[in-house]
Each structure stands twice: as structure tokens, then as C-alpha cells.
């Protein structure tokens, strides 16, 4: 009965083949489905009638039409596309927020800000132009804050999305593990579950879209999956991962690790998660840092200039800083270095004296406040709610104007040559700095004697006092410089001079008991009578030097006293180092100034102009050897303290997200410090700030703020362009590979229809065969019966 077996095997094969074709057609639109083909082989021969005759067809299995190499390549492109897609979305958002070329972006706002100062420089007292400066600065601040906010939101949403993505990855991993288990079970039973494998492969594809995974098939056909070495699926077990924010050197980065473990990994690539992590850890971080650096530079450049000047509102009766840390200045958000700042105080009688406040690494808001409060006229200075509030006594004013004082100071010399300390570099005596102005009427030497508990005692420790005696031997001050005194603290003496004793990192400053230093103060006396009084000395012009200098001007006269403009008389001017920078005739041929007309002007190379004038009763007399000093400042705040705490600042804030206008400026445009002169009518500071837009900055690697921003905007645009290009390339490759896959694994309904017809005909033929066999047997049976 082999014929029946042959016929039945053919019918069964045709039926199975039709089932497979039906399955293929049914899944022709199923994503991830791979076309299945029936595997056939001729059944083994059987000996019949002396011949070996085939016994029909055997069904040997079903083959998934899959090219593993191609599938791997598709997975790689897919994961790259997912990663790039995420990056492109965020970068396009930032590009739109920057608004360059689409609308008036930050570059326009930045240049408009500098232009507003430029325009104000032409008419510094114009209220409308001052309002325009405020308006342009507010626009700039809001645009910078807006972009910073977009970047911050993206950073936050990136982390949130990363966590959500990790949750999905964990879910998919569990499903893959479950399918692994089922497929393995079916394989043990001898079944090849093509559809389940397709389902599993589809899950792996989805996983790969989320994160680039490494897959490996074991001998049982299960797939093991890991992400950058972290196991995700091993056989039928799934291991979850989690996303966390790591803090390192001021930056937060997204990292993943196995749940509960600390095997953090930040260099995940590919897939949505890889894209999010690259965005957060590299791209957004870099953009954010650059934006902050730009804002910080704009703030510090503008404020460094602004703190020095005054506006049409003139000098101040009160100024309040921002709230800052109560710790040392080194903890402030904005950098404060060792140095000093100078406060000019104008007394009700018009006398102007400049005082120096020393700032070192250990200085605190309180110690600086205490130093300022000692200055005559600024006694009410205090700290309120963490803010330094400098307040003047009635009718006093103060400012931080650089340049030279209109009226020179009496000549004061310091002789500290006898101080030896411990005699070594690390036990040297402290540096003594003197500021203020001698208020005495006669020239005299002040002796400052130190009393200690023992020799080589450190400044600011134990019992240590400084006793100041005048030329007549009377004690005018006794001051504690032992425990409680901090290096750099100011000591206001009764003679109008302010001193500070300063140690440094190498040596805190040491005194021996009985150490002495001398302050020699000399005043100009002329001939000692009203009619032979010294001349009125005036200093004008804006100091153009690069460093702070104290110029000593010494008179050489042929006789005592001698009127200026007569006989032989010379004024010699020396800088802080003792170098003679000018020696000019002030004798015959020199014209003194009058109330109405400026006489001969001694113009120095550093921009300063000195004039000597009669004072109403005397044409101005000098004695031989008379001296006075001119203190000229290039930078009235070498420490950066004023800018860091926001005293007389234009901007507040420390970065792009916090940049804002100072409250005082918003309230009164008259506070915009356009001027560096005492009169407050010049435009020097406005011009300086306006020129900052094109000035190279060391903070920005030698670029100006406007150029740095252009570079940032172009950088973001280039990244968008580059990511888009890479995405398009990956998409092209993906489409090409997908086309190849479709040829191999895709279901073509036409093909299937043709094959269906073939198997249908086969089925019909086999049926006919069986019918023929049956009829033959019937005929045979008829013959027998």
C-alpha cells in the first residue's frame, strides 16, 4: 500500500505548505516578521517488486528567511538613528531659543547693549538714553536667561526621559527573558518556534532602539543581552538597571548601573538612552558651560568698570551689597583675590580722602565691614541680613573713583627698616600699608611701637599692642594687634592715617617686643603766613597708567619761601619705585592758575595734569624740599571684592540663568556709572563699557564677548547640522538594509499567491493520484470478486 502512503504524504505536505503560506500572508504586515519556507525532502526508497521506489515526500521543517549579519547591521543603524534623533530634537530647541537669523537673537541684544552705552556716551546726562541702556540690558538679561532656562529644562527633561527609558528597557528585558524561557522549552520538546523567535527579535530591536545592546546566542538558542558590559538578560533571567545623576566637579552627569549596584557607567552610546546621555553629559553641559561663561564675562567685565564710576546721581550716601556667604571671601561665587580696594570719602567741607581696604584670602564680610566702619564718615557701615551696607554720616559721600584725587595728599613716608621679625623669610615682619590723609597742621614723625609677650610673636596672637606717639612724645593711639586682630584689618589712627598690617601665605608676620616703625608726615607750610601760604595744588585728567601709583612731587627752590612763577624753582615727580618721570620748572615762566583761568599745566604722560595756583591772598609759596603725593589708581579694586559682592554694580548674578540688572540701576538710571571724574559729567566709563563688546577677554580665550557668542551660536548650528546629516546618512543606510531584508525576509503577496497556486495544484494532483490508486484497487478487487 505504498501508493497510499505516497499520496497521503503529498497531501499532508501540500496542506502544511498551504498553512505556512497562509501564515506568511497573514503576517505580511507584521513588523519584524520573517518569511517562513517549508523544508521538504523525498521520502526514503522502499523495495518493491525488485525495485527501490520512492515513498513520497517528507516534511523536514520550517525555515525563517533571515540574514543574521544583515539584521545586526540594521539594529546598529536603528540604534544610531534613535540616538541622533534625540540629539537633533534638543539641539533644534536650543537653536530656536537662541533665535539667530530667525529673529533678533542674543547677538543682536548683546550688540544693542554695547551700542546703548555708545549712544549714552554722546549725551551722558540724557535721561532717555539712560533708560535705553536699562532697557537694552534687560533685554539681554532676559534673552540669556531664556536660553539658559531652555538648556536647564532640557537637562531636566533629559534625565526624566532617561529614567523613563530605563524603565521601558527593564520591561522589554523581562519580556525577552520570558520568551527565552518559552523558546527554550519548545526547543527541548523539539519544536522550532519561528514566530516566538520573531517576537523576541522584535523586542531586541525595540531594546536596541532604546539603547545599544550586545547580544549573544547560547547553545540552546537563548539570547543573552548586555548594555556596556552590564548584564540585562541572561537566559531566562532579566536584570534591571537604573539611571542616576552623578555629581563631579560642579557638573551633573547621567549614569546607569545595575539596580542596587554602583557599577556606574556614563559612556553609553546608541539608542534613545545613549542619545539622552550624550546630550546631557556632553552637548548640553558644554552649551550650558559656554553660556554661563559668556554671561559671567559680561557681568564681570561690565561690573569691574561700573564699580569704579559714578553716574549723574553722583557719589553715594549709602550702598548695599548682595547677600553673600559669611565665610571668607574665597568662598564667594564670583572670584575675589588678594588685593585692596579704595574708598574715597568726601567730607561735608569738600575735603576728599581716599582709604585703602586690604582684602586677603581670610578676609570676611565682617572684617571688611569693620575696616570700613573705622573710616571717618562711614561709621554707620554694618551688615544687615547678610548684606554689607555702607552708610555715611550726614552730608558725607563716598565713591570708588579711580584716577588721582583733585587735591594731593600731604607727604607721608614709612620707615620700617628697623623691623626684623624672626630674621628669616618665614618669620619676617608684616607688610605695613598706609592710606588716608594726615590731618595735622604741622609736620611731625609718629613713632609706632609694638609691645609683645615675647620676641618673634605672630601678628594677631596673644597679647600684642601698637602704641603710636606723636612728635612731642604724646601717645595718640594704643591698638590691639594681638588675638582678635586679623591680618589686613584696618587701623584708623587719630592723625587721619589708616594703616594695616599684612601677612601672607608664607609668613603671617612676626614682631619682636619693642619693634618700632615710623610714619613721617609733612605738610606744606609756605612762608608760614597768610600772604606767603603754599599754593593751591590741583590735579586733573584721567589717569591712563596700567598700575596703581603713588607719585611723590618734591620742590627744589632757590630760597625759603619762594613764590611759584618766580626765580629758579623745580618740581620733581617720582613714581612709586622712585623713578623720576618728570622734572619741570615752576619758577619764572611758570604761570599759576586763577579762579577763571588755568595757568601753566604740568601734563604727565599718564594723563594727569597738575596745576599750581594762588589762593586768594598768596601767589603760592614753597620751601625747598617741600613734598606732596598724588595717588593715581588704574584699578580701585584689585581684589575684585566690590564686583563680587555687587557694590555699585550694573549687573547682578553669576551666570546665564541668574544674570539680572542691579536693583539700584533699575530704580534710577542716574546710577549708571558713565563717569570716572569727580564732577560726574564725563563719558569715560560709558565709552569704556561700550568698547568692551570688541575687547579681547582672557576669560574667553582671547575672544570678545560678541565674537564668543557668535562662535557658540555657530557651534550649536553646526552640531544641529552635523547631527541631522548623520541621521540622514544612517537613515539612508537603514533604508537600504531594510530593502535588502525585505527581499530576503519580507512577504511578497504575489510570490505567496504563486506558491499557493502551486501547492493547491499539488494538492489537487495528489488527490487525483489517490483517486486513481483507489480506482485501480477497486478495479483489481472487481477482478478478484
Amino acid at each position: 500500500m505504498g501508493s497510499y502512503d505516497i499520496g497521503i504524504s503529498g497531501l499532508q505536505m501540500a496542506q502544511t505548505a498551504l498553512d505556512i503560506i497562509g501564515n506568511n500572508i497573514a503576517n505580511s504586515s507584521t513588523e519584524g516578521y520573517h518569511r517562513q519556507d517549508i523544508n521538504l525532502s523525498a521520502a526514503a526508497d522502499s523495495y518493491s517488486n525488485g525495485f527501490l521506489i520512492g515513498q513520497g515526500v517528507d516534511f523536514t521543517g520550517i525555515t525563517r528567511q533571515i540574514n543574521e549579519l544583515l539584521e545586526d547591521n540594521i539594529l546598529r543603524q536603528n540604534t544610531t538613528m534613535s540616538s541622533l534623533s534625540k540629539q537633533a530634537e534638543s539641539l533644534q530647541t536650543i537653536e530656536s531659543a537662541m533665535g539667530e537669523l530667525l529673529s533678533d537673537g542674543i547677538s543682536t541684544a548683546l550688540q544693542s547693549f554695547y551700542n546703548a552705552f555708545e549712544e549714552l556716551s554722546a549725551r551722558p546726562d540724557d535721561v532717555t538714553l539712560r533708560a535705553a541702556v536699562v532697557s537694552s540690558a534687560q533685554t539681554l538679561c532676559s534673552q540669556l536667561r531664556n536660553v539658559a532656562s531652555v538648556v536647564t529644562n532640557l537637562e531636566e527633561s533629559t534625565y526624566s526621559e532617561a529614567r523613563s527609558t530605563v524603565d521601558t528597557i527593564n520591561t522589554l528585558a523581562e519580556q525577552v527573558a520570558s520568551l527565552n524561557s518559552t523558546i527554550n522549552l519548545q526547543a527541548v520538546r523539539g519544536y522550532d518556534c519561528a514566530n516566538l523567535k520573531d517576537q523576541r527579535d522584535q523586542l531586541v530591536t525595540k531594546l536596541n532602539e532604546l539603547v545599544e545592546v550586545n547580544t549573544a546566542r547560547d547553545s540552546s538558542g537563548q539570547i543573552n543581552i548586555s548594555v556596556v558590559g552590564i548584564p540585562l538578560v541572561v537566559g531566562s533571567n532579566a536584570f534591571s538597571i537604573e539611571a542616576k545623576l552623578l555629581y563631579d566637579e560642579g557638573d551633573y552627569t547621567i549614569a546607569i548601573c545595575s539596580t542596587g549596584a554602583e557599577n556606574y557607567c556614563t559612556d553609553v552610546e546608541g539608542g534613545t538612552l545613549g542619545g539622552l546621555m550624550t546630550l546631557r553629559n556632553d552637548i548640553l553641559d558644554e552649551i550650558s558651560d559656554k553660556l554661563d561663561l559668556l554671561a559671567k564675562t559680561i557681568i564681570s567685565q561690565t561690573n569691574d568698570l561700573h564699580v569704579q564710576g559714578v553716574g549723574t546721581d553722583g557719589s553715594f550716601s549709602t550702598l548695599t551689597s548682595n547677600a553673600v556667604s559669611s565665610g571668607s571671601v574665597s568662598e564667594y561665587d564670583m572670584p575675589v583675590g588678594e588685593g585692596e580696594f579704595y574708598i574715597r570719602v568726601t567730607a561735608p567741607d569738600g575735603t576728599i580722602i581716599r582709604y585703602q581696604i586690604v582684602v586677603n584670602a581670610d578676609s570676611t564680610m565682617q572684617s571688611i565691614c569693620d575696616s570700613i566702619a573705622q573710616i571717618p564718615g562711614l561709621g554707620d557701615t554694618a551688615i544687615n541680613a547678610g548684606r554689607l551696607q555702607i552708610t555715611t554720616d550726614t552730608d558725607y559721600r563716598f565713591d570708588f573713583l579711580p584716577g588721582a584725587l583733585l587735591t594731593p595728599s600731604p607727604y607721608v613716608s614709612l620707615d620700617d627698616s628697623s623691623l626684623a621679625g624672626g630674621g628669616t623669610e618665614v618669620t619676617a615682619p608684616p607688610t605695613i600699608q598706609v592710606s588716608g590723609a594726615y590731618t595735622g597742621a604741622v609736620s611731625q614723625d609718629f613713632t609706632c611701637t609694638i609691645t609683645t609677650e615675647g620676641d618673634v610673636q605672630e601678628l594677631g596672637t596673644g597679647v600684642m599692642t601698637l602704641t603710636v606717639t606723636d612728635g612731642g612724645g604724646s601717645v595718640i593711639d594704643t591698638v590691639n594687634i594681638g588675638a582678635g586682630y586679623e591680618s589686613g584689618d584696618s587701623i584708623m589712627l587719630s592723625n587721619g592715617l589708616m594703616i594695616s598690617l599684612n601677612g601672607d601665605d608664607v609668613c603671617p608676620g612676626y614682631f619682636d617686643d619693642g619693634d618700632v616703625f615710623t610714619l613721617s608726615a609733612s605738610v606744606l607750610a609756605g612762608g608760614g603766613t597768610v600772604a606767603t601760604a603754599p599754593p593751591a595744588i590741583a590735579v586733573a585728567g584721567l589717569y591712563t597708567g596700567d598700575v596703581n601709583q603713588t607719585y611723590t612731587c618734591t620742590v627744589s627752590a632757590a630760597s625759603d619761601p619762594q613764590a611759584i612763577g618766580t626765580g629758579e624753582m623745580t618740581l620733581t615727580i617720582q613714581d612709586s619705585s622712585g623713578l623720576t618721570i618728570a622734572s619741570v620748572n615752576i619758577g619764572e615762566g611758570f604761570t599759576a592758575s586763577t579762579v577763571n583761568v588755568t595757568g601753566t599745566t604740568i601734563t604727565l604722560d599718564n594723563g594727569l595734569a597738575i596745576t599750581l595756583g594762588g589762593n586768594g591772598t598768596s601767589p603760592g609759596y614753597f620751601n625747598d624740599g617741600d613734598a606732596f603725593t598724588i595717588e593715581a589708581l588704574a584699578d580701585p579694586d584689585t581684589s575684585g571684592f566690590l564686583s563680587a559682592v555687587g557694590l555699585n554694580c550694573f549687573f547682578s548674578g553669576i551666570d546665564a540663568s541668574s544674570i539680572a540688572m542691579s536693583d539700584a540701576i533699575v530704580e534710577s538710571g542716574g546710577c549708571i556709572a558713565t563717569s570716572l571724574s569727580v564732577e560726574g559729567t564725563d563719558n569715560t566709563n560709558a565709552v569704556k563699557i561700550a568698547n568692551m563688546g570688541e575687547a579681547a577677554s582672557s576669560m574667553l580665550g582671547g575672544l570678545s564677548t560678541t565674537d564668543y557668542y557668535l562662535s557658540l551660536a555657530t557651534d550649536v548650528g553646526s552640531q544641529v547640522s552635523s547631527v541631522q546629516l548623520r541621521y540622514n546618512n544612517a537613515e539612508s543606510v537603514y533604508n537600504s538594509l531594510a530593502e535588502q531584508r525585505d527581499k530576503i525576509s519580507g512577504v511578497d503577496i504575489n510570490d505567496e499567491a504563486v506558491r499557493m497556486m502551486a501547492y493547491q495544484q499539488l494538492f489537487q494532483a495528489m488527490s487525483q493520484y489517490l483517486s486513481t490508486v483507489s480506482e485501480s484497487i477497486q478495479n483489481l478487487m472487481t477482478i478478484i470478486s
Binding site: Q92, E95, M98, E100, L101, S107, T108, S112, N115, E118, E119, S121, A122, P124, D125, D126, T312, A536, A540, G541, G565, T566, E588, F590, T591, A592, S593, T594, N596, V597, T598, G613, G614, N615, G616, T617, S618, P619, E679, T681, D682, N683, V687, E694, L710, S711, A713, T714, V716, G717, S718, V720, S721, N735, A738, E739, D742, I749, N750, A753
Partner: protein, 388 residues
């Protein structure tokens, strides 16, 4: 096949959207990512354009101020010239006291007019106040009789420089003294008969002053401020400083040859400003000190020469202002050219080629339609149609 068709349609749709955006904005580069390299150049050029626009505004503002200054200086020159002509005609002829007084009164009006002109403001800024332009730069002071005693400058001595080009700055609000004052002081001239003579020191008095000498031989007292501050002399000093207590001006006097008390008119050539020269002339015309006619005419002659000096200073100022206007005009033209060039460059980089755009749009539209048609055809054909 579906994926390929979908991708092709997506690419064409994106291209059409990009072309539509370019057509709508007329710009080839609408965002930096469209063409980062060109965008960088465009942004840089736009920044330069902003800077140039600001320079143009500055030049326009300064030009406006200087043109008004020029006009005011012309009016002042005319006033001074007329006054000088009146005084000259008076010196050359014989006139009555009433005519002199009348002319002196007329000079009061001229001085007030000149001060008013010197205090001219534009948009709240004084033209001749230097850096201190918010207040009137010149103030008239009157004596107890209500006569003009002097004109005081209270503006700024510095001038505010304004940037008008890269590295070029110009001031428009000029400092009055630099325009209205002759600053070429010469040796003081003593006209009187007291015997006082000029000392060796560098005197700071300006214009005309009256040196009063009183006392007797060996015990003289000298004053140049109407007796407010007397300086004692024993008649031997070759270089005695006599100080004006009000102004601080000093006149160095050789007292060795003083022979009698009296008033010694002194004038200092090369120190007149237009206001005080006219005040001196007016005082001389009123002759309150009863200076003899001969002396008076001599001093008036010197005063007229002082006025000529002041007039020359005014003329010089006129040319200074004119020179600045010329520089600004020239700079303005250059900047305008650079601006045009910059705008051209921006246009070349940023503007879309409209005709090319139209062709591209048309081409992609056809392609898109063709793709749709092909897709429709491909989806409609099937072997199933032939199965029965």
C-alpha cells in the same frame, strides 16, 4: 517596498517644506544649522552692521550739534565785530560823554547777548560747556551798581569724546575757554604815572586791571582788587606779588621806582576773552576812574587790539568746528559706503535666488506627484487580480 516609498515621500515632503520656507522668507539661510559657515559670516556681518549703524547715529548727532555751534559762533563773531567797529569809531573821533555812556550801555546788551549765545543748548546740552553740559556754562556777575563785572565760566574743562569710527573719536560739545579766550599772555603794560613797573615773575592777571597804589615813599600799599587785599611794599621789591583776593590772579610789580600814589591801569595783551574784553571796553567807556583822555584812548586802543585777538580766536574756533564737520561728513560717507557693502555681502550670503527657488519648487512638486502616482500604481497591481 512600502518603507522605501514612505521614505522617498518623506524626503520629498521635507525638501518641499524647506523650499517653501525659503520662498516665504526670501532667505537662503533661515537658521544657523541651514549653513553654519555662511551663518557665521552673516552673523558677523550683521554685528558689524549694527556697529556701523551706531557710528552713523553718533555722526548724525555730533554733526547736528556742530552745525548749531557753527551757526552760534557766526552770530557771536558778527556781534563782536560790530562792537569792535563801534569802539574803533569812537576812538577815532571826538564824542561826548553821553555818547560814550550810550555805547557802554549798548555793550552791556552785546555781552548779555554773547553770553546767551554761549549758553545755547541743544536737547538740553550746552554747546560750549565741555563735559559739563547740563548747566549753563557762562554766568554773568554784576557789581553792586548792577553793572556787569565779569563773566565766569562754570562748564567743564574736559570734552567728552564720542566714537565715530573704529579708533576715531570726536568731541562736539566744546569747552568754552578753548573757543573764546586768547591764551597767548604777554608782558603786562603799565599805563599810569605812579612809577610802578612790571616785575620779573609770571603774572597771572588777564585783560585789564587797575593797580592801586597808596601810601608814601618807603611805605607803599598795592592792590589789584579794589582794595580788598593790600600788599605792603617798602619800595625796594623788584618782584612783589600783588594778589587779587577774589580770583587768585597775581600781578608781579617792580616797586623800586614808585614815586607817587594813584591808579595804574595795566593791561596784559594776549589774555583777552571776548566777554571780559568787552567788559573792559565798557568800563573804560564809562570811565568811572576818571582816567585822562589820552591814557584812556591808549588803553582803549589796546582793548580793541585785545578784541581783535578775541575775534581771531572766534574765527579760529569757527574753523575748528568747520574742520570737525568736514571730518564727520567724510567719515559719514565712508561709513555709508561700508554699510552698503556690508548689506550687499549679507544679501549675497543670505538672500535666496528666487528664480532658482521657483525652478526647484516646480521640480520637486512634479517629483512628489510622480512618486505618489507611482506608489498608487504599485499598490494597485497584484497577482491576486489574476486569480479566480
Amino acid at each position: 517596498m512600502c518603507q522605501k516609498i514612505g521614505h522617498t515621500l518623506s524626503v520629498q515632503s521635507t525638501t518641499l517644506a524647506q523650499l517653501q520656507e525659503k520662498a516665504a522668507t526670501g532667505q537662503e539661510v533661515n537658521r544657523v544649522s541651514d549653513d553654519p559657515s555662511s551663518a557665521n559670516r552673516i552673523l558677523s556681518l550683521l554685528k558689524n552692521k549694527q556697529i556701523l549703524t551706531q557710528y552713523t547715529k553718533n555722526i548724525s548727532g555730533l554733526t547736528s550739534v556742530l552745525e548749531l555751534s557753527s551757526s552760534v559762533l557766526q552770530s557771536m563773531t558778527s556781534q563782536v565785530s560790530d562792537a569792535r567797529a563801534d569802539i574803533e569809531s569812537l576812538i577815532n573821533g571826538t564824542v561826548s560823554d553821553s555818547t560814550r555812556t550810550s555805547l557802554a550801555d549798548g555793550l552791556d546788551d552785546v555781552i548779555e547777548t554773547l553770553v546767551s549765545l554761549a549758553n545755547t543748548q541743544q536737547s538740553g546740552q550746552s554747546l560750549f560747556g565741555g563735559s559739563n553740559s547740563s548747566t549753563a556754562p557762562y554766568r554773568i556777575e554784576y557789581n553792586s551798581d548792577g553793572d556787569i563785572s565779569r563773566v565766569v565760566y562754570q562748564g567743564g574743562t574736559q570734552e567728552n569724546m564720542v566714537d565715530v569710527a573704529d579708533g576715531v573719536s570726536i568731541s562736539a560739545l566744546l569747552s568754552g575757554p578753548s573757543l573764546f579766550t586768547d591764551d597767548d599772555p604777554q608782558t603786562p603794560v603799565f599805563y599810569g604815572s605812579t612809577g610802578a613797573a612790571v616785575g620779573a615773575g609770571s603774572s597771572t592777571v588777564r585783560g585789564n586791571v587797575s593797580l592801586q597804589v597808596q601810601g608814601s615813599v618807603g611805605n607803599w600799599q598795592l592792590s589789584i582788587d579794589g582794595g580788598a587785599n593790600w600788599v605792603s611794599s617798602n619800595g625796594t621789591e623788584a618782584n612783589l606779588a600783588v594778589v587779587n583776593s577774589e580770583t587768585g590772579e597775581t600781578l608781579y610789580v617792580d616797586t623800586a621806582n614808585i614815586i607817587q600814589a594813584g591808579t595804574e591801569p595795566v593791561s596784559v595783551p594776549g589774555t583777552y576773552d571776548i566777554f571780559n574784553a568787552l567788559i573792559n571796553a565798557k568800563d573804560l567807556l564809562k570811565n568811572a576812574q576818571n582816567i585822562p583822555d589820552t591814557q584812556l584812548n591808549n588803553i582803549l586802543n589796546d582793548t580793541v587790539r585785545g578784541l581783535e585777538g578775541a575775534d581771531e580766536v572766534l574765527t579760529r574756533s569757527f574753523s575748528i568746528v568747520g574742520g570737525k564737520l568736514q571730518i564727520l561728513s567724510s567719515l559719514g560717507e565712508s561709513i555709508e559706503q561700508i554699510q552698503t557693502c556690508t548689506e550687499d555681502n549679507i544679501g549675497q550670503l543670505q538672500d535666496a535666488d528666487v528664480s532658482q527657488l521657483a525652478i526647484d519648487l516646480s521640480q520637486y512638486e512634479v517629483l512628489y506627484q510622480m512618486s505618489l502616482a507611482v506608489a498608487q500604481k504599485m499598490f494597485s497591481m497584484s497577482f491576486l487580480d489574476f486569480m479566480s
